[in-house]
């Protein structure tokens, strides 16, 4: 924890809470994200992971608590303004423009950052995930794994300071997961990554820090080694 205090966190949440009609989806979570790291968020289904990152990205508004990002309070900012400040979010359920060409999907992300050399930049971003050969194809006709990669390409194309990935490797084949891991290692430390992930191999492979959520509350935060040996985590999540 000492290391996190030394460098100012890129993002910090204090007392972040979201209640739905008495259901405590997220309950007074304090959370710090160190710039340049890959931070994984794990926990059983229904632990509040997606709700938590939705609060960070602004898709939903918190019941209580504050969020600081890059030195400013963003608690009240709408989602699109947070994106403009450098928070990119990729959806758990693939949310691409199925009826538009692959090219347009990524171009939409890139043109927000400025419209010079749109074609070249878009093709480069597609090449990074190996989809440059499919630029003219409608995104909805891509294989599932390719749609996930397109989703990630859209996130990366926004050149974010913080990239939030919600279960990016879900449904990917092993070879595709390896390619994903390589990609994430390439973009860090320029980009800070917050990763929700069920695949423990990916988490242990990539994460510098891990936070475990359970029933909407933080159970533990630490390095992969610390988390693996934490008895509370083992009891709640890793199955003892």
């Amino acid at each position: 924890m000492a290391a996190m205090i030394l460098s100012a966190p890129l993002l910090s949440a204090r007392g972040l809470t979201k209640h739905y009609d008495g259901i405590k989806a997220v309950e007074t979570v304090d959370f710090d994200l160190t710039a340049g790291q890959v931070h994984a968020l794990i926990g059983p289904n229904g632990a509040g992971k997606t709700t938590f990152v939705s609060l960070l990205s602004g898709r939903i508004t918190p019941s209580a608590g504050t969020i600081q990002f890059d030195g400013a309070d963003i608690t009240r900012l709408p989602a699109h303004s947070r994106v403009a400040r450098g928070i990119a979010y990729t959806f758990q359920i693939t949310s691409i423009y199925a009826n538009l060409p692959v090219f347009d999907n990524v171009a939409l992300a890139i043109q927000r950052q400025g419209s010079t050399n749109l074609r070249a930049k878009t093709m480069a971003a597609l090449a990074r995930v190996g989809l440059d050969g499919r630029a003219d194809q409608n995104a909805g006709t891509l294989a599932y794994g390719h749609q996930r990669l397109l989703e990630i390409a859209m996130g990366l194309s926004m050149a974010p300071k913080l990239l939030i990935l919600d279960e990016p490797t879900q449904g990917l084949a092993n070879a595709e997961i390896d390619a994903f891991n390589t990609l994430i290692r390439e973009v860090t430390p320029q980009t800070t990554v917050l990763l929700i992930e069920h695949n423990m191999d990916v988490v242990m492979d990539l994460a510098d820090q891990i936070t475990v959520l359970s029933f909407g509350e933080t159970l533990a935060t630490g390095t992969p080694a610390e988390i693996r040996s934490n008895p509370a985590v083992q009891a709640a999540y890793l199955g003892g």
Partner: protein, 311 residues
């Protein structure tokens, strides 16, 4: 030059040539259709490209028409500044409506826009002292010229309509190729995704509605000057539905769909009403066939069958 641009220029060239080939009756019809097509193009920018299903576009058309008509009648403007006034009025009313109506979406948006348009229609009737209500205003021939060009006579009127249509069509084509056009389509396809790419949905939709109102206002203003009549009937629900039907028939989200739809619908009514008083039945049957066999409209159907480049 791309295929798409070539096609658009060919359509404009054909319309230019039609001027010399058509008999007088059709000549006037095509001029009217081109003006109505500009209205429908505006509708298409909101509905076809951005996904905003408005039932209140008669308000924007009437705003253009009345701003021009009243500008000429009450303030003694000449045709040129009155046309500009009409165009701006369409955009201003559309923007004002949008600021309020875009707080809603989907069915609520339809109802709110319908409500605004009805309020507009009643306002026109209420101020009958100026607008002459249902009876409307006939614009004198003398007021319908720009410089030495008498827009009440056939040839200049046709060229004025063609000029407006050409500008509208080419700007529409440019819009679909622009970053703004891409963002508008993205809003139609997946609003939540667009928001998470950093687009402000309200801003994009308001911009689309403003451009849409600019087209509707220009069409209303041109209609007043070219055909010399400004009446409350143009502010009724019928004139909100017509552009929707044109767009559905021709192909929503295609640049040439509004013109094709306006052309076909106009002549469908024109020809069928020569045979039967139940011409609306024919229109209804045509729309049913459309919905059953080509729900994306004629050009949408063509686009799905190989012409993917069709903008």
């Amino acid at each position: 030059m791309t295929r798409a641009l070539a096609l658009h220029l060919a359509v404009l060239a054909a319309l230019f040539a039609a001027q010399f080939l058509l008999p007088s009756y059709h000549h006037t019809n095509i001029a009217r259709i081109m003006v109505l097509a500009v209205f429908a193009m505006g509708y298409n920018i909101a509905f076809g490209y951005t996904g905003l299903l408005s039932l209140g576009h008669a308000l924007f058309f009437a705003a253009g028409m009345y701003a021009t008509g009243l500008g000429i009648e009450l303030w003694g403007l000449s045709a040129a500044p009155a046309l500009v006034l009409g165009l701006l009025a369409g955009a201003a009313i559309a923007a004002a409506t949008g600021v309020l109506a875009l707080r809603t979406g989907g069915v609520s948006f339809m109802i709110v826009t319908l409500m605004f348009a009805q309020a507009g229609y009643l306002t026109i009737l209420y101020f009958g002292a100026y607008t002459r209500g249902d009876e409307g205003i006939v614009i004198t021939r003398a007021a319908r010229s720009i410089g030495s060009l008498d827009l009440s006579s056939d040839t200049p009127r046709y060229f004025a309509a063609l000029a407006l249509f050409s500008v509208g069509l080419l700007l529409n084509l440019a819009l679909t190729r622009s970053n703004l056009g891409r963002a508008m389509i993205a809003m139609r396809e997946n609003e939540e995704r667009s928001r998470m790419l950093g687009y402000n949905p309200f801003k994009i939709k308001l911009t689309a509605l403003l451009i849409s109102g600019l087209y509707a206002g220009a069409a209303g203003a041109a209609y007043a000057v070219l055909f010399g009549y400004v009446g409350a009937s143009f502010a009724t629900i019928q004139y909100s539905i017509l552009p929707l039907l044109y767009v559905l028939l021709g192909g929503a989200g295609t640049t040439l769909g509004p013109f094709l739809g306006a052309l076909l619908m106009f002549y469908l009514i024109d020809i069928s009403s020569g045979y039967t008083t139940a011409h609306l039945f024919v229109v209804g049957a045509a729309l049913l066939i459309l919905v059953l066999f080509a729900p994306k409209g004629i050009l949408g159907w063509v686009r799905d069958r190989g012409a993917k480049w069709l903008p």
